[in-house]
């Protein structure tokens, strides 16, 4: 499936990259589903109110808060952990690309990848507070 002059290292990298994306999505969906079942069992009968914007409580808006809640098996935090895993999948993909470009000693692409990674990490860590 790959071009005649293509680096076998590139081909292997594309396979790993494809698997990384697939497993990231599957893991995230599984966690979201598991948290969702418990969330619906506990709160399924309560009324919904999303017509007015209130914003999420603090514990569900940071990676640290969500991980703490999920470890305490709070169902809404487990669903939110699924969301975090989904956000982490592209970030892991960029880290993966960074390693590949470093190995190829491709300086322009190493710098570009570092920039993209910095924006993603900044957004998740400080985004709403900046």
């Amino acid at each position: 499936m790959h071009a005649p002059d293509e680096d076998p290292d590139d081909v292997r990298m594309h396979h790993l990259l494809g698997n990384l994306l697939r497993w990231g999505v599957l893991l995230s969906a599984a966690v979201t589903l598991a948290g969702g079942v418990f969330l619906l069992a506990a709160r399924g009968g309560s009324p919904v109110a999303y017509g007015a914007f209130r914003g999420e409580p603090g514990a569900l808006t940071s990676v640290a808060g969500i991980v703490r809640g999920a470890l305490a098996l709070r169902s809404d935090a487990v669903v939110q952990l699924g969301v975090i895993l989904l956000l982490a999948t592209p970030i892991a993909r960029v880290v993966f690309s960074l390693v590949a470009f470093l190995r190829q000693r491709d300086l322009p692409f190493v710098l570009m990848t570092l920039f993209v990674l910095a924006v993603l990490v900044f957004s998740l860590a400080f985004g709403g507070r900046a």
Partner: protein, 277 residues
């Protein structure tokens, strides 16, 4: 409505959006925001945050297959992501200060443009030679065709990256993948083959959406009760769509999806102009 009933109804809607989105190649994300706001009365900010998360799920799932098969140009994707993530971060901050009505009007216009674009015949304009910058960055590459591997050239890298900045900003502001702007930049400006531009665009959507979704998560725009049915529904719809793609009547579905998009666009515009958001 109870949370259980809401989850089931939104889940069915999201499933249909994901199914039609994957069968028509237009992506399901663009109808999620109208579905939530117009159909279920959800606040626009929650709708945008939730929609972005579902966009990451479908694009990462689809990109997994394309990358392995060698269609996506990972180097071009990485380069253009510099533009999309910068635009996305600015778009995320802009959405915090703009009125939801302004966002709704922009949404309606982009949705109309997407519908119009989907009915146009796409023409492939392959370039005979790459620009010096594209050559220096080793962007020209190969892609698989039934007749073996074909080489392609790359032009206008700077213009492509500038258009990607716009695509990133729209993605953040509206909670969509902006595939339509991305494909425009890669087809028209950079002269890439369709297969390459479509799959590379898809490859980039996850990273672009993650850049603004992080901001929305920490700003409290992403709610677990909304994310649950939307993410799982769209993802399931997209998976089923990919399975039945070869047997589905794609053209009539495309007309159907485009008609739905036009109606939703009109309603978003109308409500936005009246200040009803």
């Amino acid at each position: 409505m109870t949370i259980l009933a809401f989850t089931l109804l939104v889940g069915c809607g999201a499933f249909l959006a994901g199914l039609l989105g994957s069968l028509t190649g237009l992506g399901g994300g663009i109808v999620i925001v109208p579905l939530l706001t117009l159909g279920f009365g959800v606040d626009l900010r929650y709708a945008v945050g939730t929609s972005l998360v579902s966009v990451i799920a479908t694009s990462s799932g689809a990109a997994a297959a394309y990358v392995r098969e060698g269609y996506s140009n990972v180097r071009i994707g990485m380069l253009l992501e510099v533009g999309t993530v910068t635009g996305a971060l600015l778009g995320a901050y802009a959405s915090g200060v703009l009125s939801p009505n302004v966002i709704a009007v922009v949404f309606g216009l982009v949705l109309l443009f997407t519908a119009f674009q989907s009915l146009q015949q796409r023409t492939e304009r392959l370039a005979a030679a790459s620009s010096p910058l594209a050559r220096r960055l080793r962007l020209p590459s190969w892609y698989p065709t039934p007749a073996g591997h074909r080489h392609y050239e790359v032009r206008n890298v700077g213009l492509g990256a500038a258009l990607m900045f716009v695509a990133g900003a729209l993605s953040a502001l509206l909670g969509i993948g902006s595939g339509v702007v991305k494909v425009l930049a890669m087809d028209r400006a950079m002269h890439l083959p369709f297969k390459v531009s479509t799959t590379t665009s898809n490859f980039m959507i996850g990273v672009t959406a993650a850049a603004s979704a992080g901001v929305y998560l920490s700003r409290g725009w992403i709610d677990p009760v909304l994310a649950l049915p939307v993410v799982l529904g769209v993802l399931a719809g997209a998976l089923v769509g990919a399975r039945i793609l070869s047997r589905a009547p794609v053209r009539p579905l495309r007309v159907l999806f485009t008609s739905v998009a036009v109606v939703l666009a009109a309603e978003m515009l109308w409500k936005g102009v009246r200040g009803a958001f």
